[in-house]
Symmetry: C2
Subunit: 638 residues, 2 copies
Amino acid sequence: MRAKPPTSGAIRQADESFRSPKAELDLRRERDWRTKMNAVTPTVTAGPLPASRKIYLAGTAFPDIRVPMRAITVHPTAGEPDVIVYDPSGPYTDSQIETDIAKGLPRIRESWIAARGDTEFYEGRAVQPEDNGNLPAEKLTPEFPVRNVPRRATGGRAVTQYEYARAGIVTAEMEFVAIRENLGRAEAKRALERDGEPHSAAIPDFITPEWVRDEVASGRAIIPANINHPEVEPMAIGRNFLVKINANIGNSAVTSSMAEEVEKMVWAIRWGADTVMDLSTGRNIHNIRDWIIRNAPVPIGTVPIYQALEKVNGIAEDLTWEVFRDTLIEQAEQGVDYFTIHAGVRLSHIPLTVDRTTGIVSRGGSIMAKWCLHHHRESFLYEHFEEIADICRAYDVSFSMGDGLRPGSIADANDAAQFAELDTLGELTQIAWAKGCQVMIEGPGHVPMHKVKENVDRQMRVCGEAPFYTLGPLVTDIAPGYDHITSGIGAAMIGWFGTAMLCYVTPKEHLGLPDRDDVKVGVVTYKIAAHAADLAKGHPAAQLRDDALSRARFEFRWEDQFNLSLDPETARSFHDQTLPKEAHKVAHFCSMCGPKFCSMKISHDIRAEAQKEGMEKMAQKYREGGGLYMPAGDVPAE
Amino acid sequence: MRAKPPTSGAIRQADESFRSPKAELDLRRERDWRTKMNAVTPTVTAGPLPASRKIYLAGTAFPDIRVPMRAITVHPTAGEPDVIVYDPSGPYTDSQIETDIAKGLPRIRESWIAARGDTEFYEGRAVQPEDNGNLPAEKLTPEFPVRNVPRRATGGRAVTQYEYARAGIVTAEMEFVAIRENLGRAEAKRALERDGEPHSAAIPDFITPEWVRDEVASGRAIIPANINHPEVEPMAIGRNFLVKINANIGNSAVTSSMAEEVEKMVWAIRWGADTVMDLSTGRNIHNIRDWIIRNAPVPIGTVPIYQALEKVNGIAEDLTWEVFRDTLIEQAEQGVDYFTIHAGVRLSHIPLTVDRTTGIVSRGGSIMAKWCLHHHRESFLYEHFEEIADICRAYDVSFSMGDGLRPGSIADANDAAQFAELDTLGELTQIAWAKGCQVMIEGPGHVPMHKVKENVDRQMRVCGEAPFYTLGPLVTDIAPGYDHITSGIGAAMIGWFGTAMLCYVTPKEHLGLPDRDDVKVGVVTYKIAAHAADLAKGHPAAQLRDDALSRARFEFRWEDQFNLSLDPETARSFHDQTLPKEAHKVAHFCSMCGPKFCSMKISHDIRAEAQKEGMEKMAQKYREGGGLYMPAGDVPAE
């Protein structure tokens, strides 16, 4: 980092003095590694988006916090202020900061966590050969050069944002979130009337840290932020906040490497992913995860059962609570921010899936179902749920209650298996809350439009309004290759109805592994869905960007149209395919109609004429109820 | 045509004998043209989609009609019947027919129209130089080789489907539509329970010709079918029918040619476009349109004001009723099936647009606004609306009432200008109906999700339930480059709420002219939206294809998954990017999870085990209310 914030730098020094017994070793490790990896250290995509710069806002209660936003500058002729947008992309898009993924991101939360005085560093679990799939040294992804010495709660405390919130404590994370969510809202209050159908949401005109605390305390929102992921820029997931999106990455048994995965994470957040799930299932899981987390400014989620299954060579029947528990601790120490736990797949639910069109489509769900059936026993996740919660509360790992029985087809939507599991998730939510843990609930999947709303309403009722986090849903099964779109339709709707976070789907869904372009298309599609939901809910600041872009469109400010869009590169390249010349970027027409037919140009002529002729006065007259429906030929007198 | 249906062939003979005075000339023309054009005769994309063959069903009242459908064959191991899907692609996808665009399609409706005995052939309007932009001969697109001798109603009759329907006459077109819309529905009745939220729609279990007649007579549906477009395969637009989609093509002042436009039309219907609008604005409009119509098995719509404006050199103020009227007759004689008429843009509405964020964004709307304002007069379209209807009734050109004041941004959605125009369209609908014309109403545009439903409800109320035909709507303005998606979301929703036809938007919207790939992506996206709407409305046959594809997915029938999808080429290519080998097409896993983790494989294991262990019995027990929520560890006894 070129511009490391002094505070977190100082704190890190303190950490390093704590870990002095290992400092020597770590330094040697890093040197060795650098020699070995010099050629292969991956680079990631960095640099600001067009016409954009990073700005940081400071806190009040916590003056040290620096809340990042992206300011998009429009052409001076517009005479308009910068458009401020929410920005999960981290330091990678800050032209003032040089990132180095072998060092990791600044540990901005280190001081906040330390100041609470309720955690301790400890040696932590030693990395085991099976954590990386028992690979021989030469095939092993190198360890991350700087070892993360883990923290945990002292004295069995819950060190969670939920527990602080319930105790009336406003944390730095909460103030960070409040500032972050208020993007431009102070100005918006003047300009925008509230407009929207919020359903059960209640978004205030202006968000205060105390209001954030209240949302977290009520369980309606979570701030996923493991104490071992101090690099995270805190964000909230809840239906009274901006709708968030998640992007999945992860290597598989079939393909992909560490370098690819880190870049996929950086790439996904560049385009707007608010959290990233690492769904790796192949070898090197542990080490790749370390690289991802140390470089992630967004919360990282995992499905620990995937790694647990690797540890028992892929044989579901051989899973045990002990292996699973060990995996949770391994990942909690690394800094995973939320765990998908499929504890709702109970033995008694499995028969409900037998007549389904597509059975069980969740990987975690099917693993647990197979285990339950083989042993003819209740799920060990369900039986040990309180112990899982004990681990989560010691690190502030949020629960993402997995929907192992989600429907995998339109035919299976909203069926008995799905809702039986949801009931169990509601029961487990209460247990997790009693343990002081943060909880969100995963949802489907494949659902036709007319059954979408029932999913939200029922989840809210059954799970005490814990945030809902859905995969799509896809509103039809007939378009493999376009499932970002089939699911984007469902995602926009379910977001409007109150879902807090939308898990993206890429064009490769059901067909193959997403590449870089697929990740981008998936993220942009879900930013569309989330933003459409914010607009429909009447989020007081959401329409500012739409309006800025629409004014740019009306005024033929082509560069501003590109820069204000979710994907400036694509917008520009599409324009240039028809009209490549630079002169066309200032042309008062476009290729669709050509200069003679341009409706916007004519609209400008009309407006000019109106001004000349006192049309404003005339308009006023009509607005006041003047004869809108004169008979044909009855020309109003000026 | 290799396999011309004998009936229509015979009828054509009859026509040729009628036009014998010109036959000599036509033949010579064709010969000359062939010599000149030999090298440039465009070819179009032909041949069936994978695993598909064309089938034709005969009528009962009209045994000669051959209603086309596409039968998709699944792998024999499935033991399932062919999946029958709606198919607007015409003879181009029939492997038994060799098409030749210099000859045009078979004139299947010729005998039906002739048999009604209420029309006459006549010489028709001579083509004028200004019809093609006053181009010199060497720049002129050649005329279509076979001149279409136009028909018109005799004795001032209305020869419209609406007028027949109101008179209690079931036409061949109506029986054609009834058979076409019933796709697989007879079988579906057994298999599917009705499921959906139809809003105001009322879709019967089985469609009869008499029911179609009633829908047309009530004005709730139209069958756009100009008597001069006998090549058209009749289709219905109405909210109790399958939701339809329209694709726009058209050359512009900036680019594109006849060959491209014909291929775009064929390409668009190949992927599922139900109607095609020719929005050409450049030169050669007349001749290109001839080529398109003679080769179009789907209804063709136009916006006649575009060509009228060309005739007055692009100067809106110079437009006159006479030029416009002449253009209507020119296009009606060619066989245009529906006209967009912006007669709702009244002088008194224009002031309502002055304070808008994006003014008037409809080309037709802005042209008329400019005209009205310049002359300070009521719109000549509004003043001459009855005369326009007199033309339409003589050819059965359907009205598509243009929404010239549709919102061009989220900020302008559902505003006073938009709804003032809608009120006028309602008033004009009554006039058109009184003249015996078929009518549909165009709608927006840009609308946030929470304002979508009001558009449908209001349109239905104000316009007497005439079919609604919307452009998207886009649910946000911030994603140029992805506006097929922003609008696909709105389109799916508005389709569910009762919109009868959705006008596609391509990824190039707002940025440039769509190419071949953009047209395909736009059409497929809108097929998704329309199908999602059919599912949500509870169309009794819609889910058959979803279920077939989902079963293929569950059973790892990869080829069937590709073949049953809306775009088999893309699905296959995405799969093959990760797993290219042929062996992987029968693999019981995919690249996302690899063989070890496959949830579907595990589901099959579970199902097998369930059968072994009598799980069905167990499932039954649970379904009957057995202890779904046993305490943890309480294993059900077998």
